[in-house]
Amino acid sequence: MRAAAAATTGRLAVGPSLTRTAIVLGGGAIVLGVAMVVAVAVGSVGVSIGDTAAILGHRLLGLPIPRTWSVGAEQIIFDVRLPRVLTAMLVGGGLALAGTVFQALLRNPMADPYIIGTAAGASLGAIAGLMAPILVPALAIGAGSSWLGLGVVQVLAFAGGLGTVLLVYAVSRTNGRVPVVTLLLTGYAVSSVLAAGVALLMFFSGQRLGAIFGWLMGSLANARWLNLAFAAPLLAISGALLVVRWRRLNLLLLGDEPASHLGLDVEREKLALTMLATLATSTVVAISGTIGFVGLVVPHLLRLAIGPDHRLLLPASILFGASLLALADLGARLAGGVPVGIVTALIGAPFFIYLLRRSRDLSRGAVA
């Protein structure tokens, strides 16, 4: 048993071959590029590929292309679609990465980025923000509803998600340790309390119920350059700090005790990983609502395809999560603007079941 663990550790600590890395990440980058082009080029209003390319070249690269396209086409491509597609990619990549981390950290195949309270906390914050004009009439008029250029909704969702996880973590701590089971159960209990608050606000929401519902389902309809400017740096930092921790995540897969015997400061590492993954999740949730499924399933799909080594798994989850959500959001837009969470669950879940049934390598693919 110990010998087997050491052998596995040895393999996982060295990482995959360079060729394999190049194939997986290169392939992922190509898929992402194709997804981006398709998602920007296609929408409810037809803009030709030539015009799309010319508009992007003109606006992004400053190329001196004579303006043959309409003002409307330029607004659609550059101000409506491009920020939305980029937001979808940031959100999809962030959720898949955080999901991979939480599944390894909690050694739980059901773990998703929201599992220890991010979703409930962010939802309560966002809905309080959506209801702010009713709860605090002074906010009802124009400028009062934005803070540092961001909406009250985004700020409260971000703070709610991050604050809830801090609370759950603090409550779960006993004798300087945070047992995984306690963390999961505390997260569940705190989430339940917050969910009751969400339900209460929804009951009194009146005409805002539609907006609240859309937020809970997860939607990218509110994607703006401004929101991207807020989210991109936070995600870049938390993402980079998570990706470089691949070796420690591989060790944690063995269990707290073996990892600690192999020299890892387990409690410190769990805290760092939880907070970084929660930072990424809260950022993403603030700009898109609670989009389900991506953070749960992309890590599983990739483990089935490329194995459990986090050196490859973490960057691959970013690339494929980003591609998946960009394409799912394209589907959502073409379906008349339904919340993207519906598309990911409706199409993604059966596909996931199909892969699970087909895979003979399930035991290796699933997290212990």
């Binding site: 409307g72 086409a73 659609i76 009439p137 909406g151 009194f204 009146g206 703006r224 008349g336």
Partner: protein
């Protein structure tokens, strides 16, 4: 099934606007007294660039007389068309049904969702949106950021519908038409209010819908409640936020007249089916057989130029002897 469900949902949403718009909220165009105010000053032409304050308190600058207009609510479409600018509409909702000529205009709101790409493609010089989140405020912000003038309308009372018509009249340089329309609406409304004003006021329950056992009606201080008051009734109202009323509160309020707005869309709701509902049998209205199907629900709950038709329908239902 799905399209029917969607239609029902839309109907419910549009009803909910009228049912839950609180009359007490601050509004720049508000004047609390219902019915007749002084006739507007002599019509003039609008001078562009024109800066107006809309019902959300936003300052909106319109650079030139708009000839490309997008309407994001059926009531707004009716206002634009009543001001003889139907030909200028380049985008409406898929719920628009009046006047008939709007059927050929591009739908930019589908299933209650604004397709921002389609609005941008239409390059409107004016967008008339609806307040109270019927047009989500995030969408209003996004359209304004794209550089389109967005005028958000949110009337809380009959009089504020007139104010909004005058506002749109200024926005699209149709002030003469707006003044004339408002004058005739106020004259008709004034005559109706005078006809029923001194009569005894029956307790009126207006059923907006019943979903999964929850009864939706006019919210306290809502547009619909104010309209029932003007029509000579004493409205039984629900919670101002959720616009629902609990059955026991309804029984305690004991309506003398039940008006079925939802029966206009759902043929399974009839006076007989309502009388047979558990717990409803003892209400005075049920005992007296005073349950009326409001086929005109649409004009009662749509805050546009036909709102006076809605007032008339309500007044006729409440006081059939006084309103021919």
């Amino acid at each position: 099934m799905a399209p029917r469900l969607r239609t029902l949902l839309l109907v419910f949403l549009s009803l909910a606007v009228a049912a839950c718009t609180p009359a007490g909220s601050p509004s720049p165009t508000a004047s609390e007294q219902p019915s007749i105010s002084a006739a507007p000053s002599a019509a003039a032409h609008s001078v562009y660039p024109l800066t107006l304050t809309d019902d959300a308190g936003r300052s909106v600058t319109i650079p030139a007389a708009p000839t490309r207009i997008v309407s994001l609510a059926p009531s707004n479409t009716e206002i634009v068309c009543a001001l003889d600018a139907c030909k200028d509409l380049v985008g409406v909702t898929d719920f628009d049904d009046y006047p008939a000529q709007v059927a050929s205009v591009t739908h930019v709101v589908i299933g209650g969702t604004v397709d921002v790409e389609k609005v941008a493609a239409a390059q409107p010089q004016l967008i008339v949106a609806a307040g109270n989140e019927l047009t989500p405020s995030a969408v209003i912000d996004q359209l304004a950021q794209l550089g389109f003038p967005v005028l958000s309308l949110y009337p809380h009372t009959l009089d504020e519908v007139s104010d909004d018509i005058l506002l749109v009249g200024r926005a699209i340089d149709a002030q003469a038409g707006a003044t004339q329309l408002v004058a005739s609406m106020r004259a008709r409304a004034g005559a109706l209010v005078a006809a029923v004003g001194s009569a005894e006021r029956p307790r009126v329950f207006y059923e907006v819908g019943v979903f999964e056992g929850t009864i939706y009606t006019a919210g306290k201080d809502s547009f619909l409640a104010s309209l029932i008051t003007l029509a000579g009734g004493d409205p039984i109202t629900g919670d101002p936020a959720s616009t629902s009323i609990q059955l026991e509160d309804l029984i305690a309020a004991d309506p003398q007249l039940i008006l079925l707005g939802d029966a206009a869309y759902d043929s399974t709701i009839t006076p007989a089916s309502v009388a047979a509902r558990s717990g409803w049998g003892g209400m005075t209205a049920v005992v007296d057989g005073k349950i009326i199907v409001m086929a005109d629900d649409l004009v009662i709950t749509r805050p546009g130029p036909r709102i006076v038709d809605g007032l008339e329908a309500l007044a006729r239902a409440i006081h059939p002897d006084l309103v021919p």
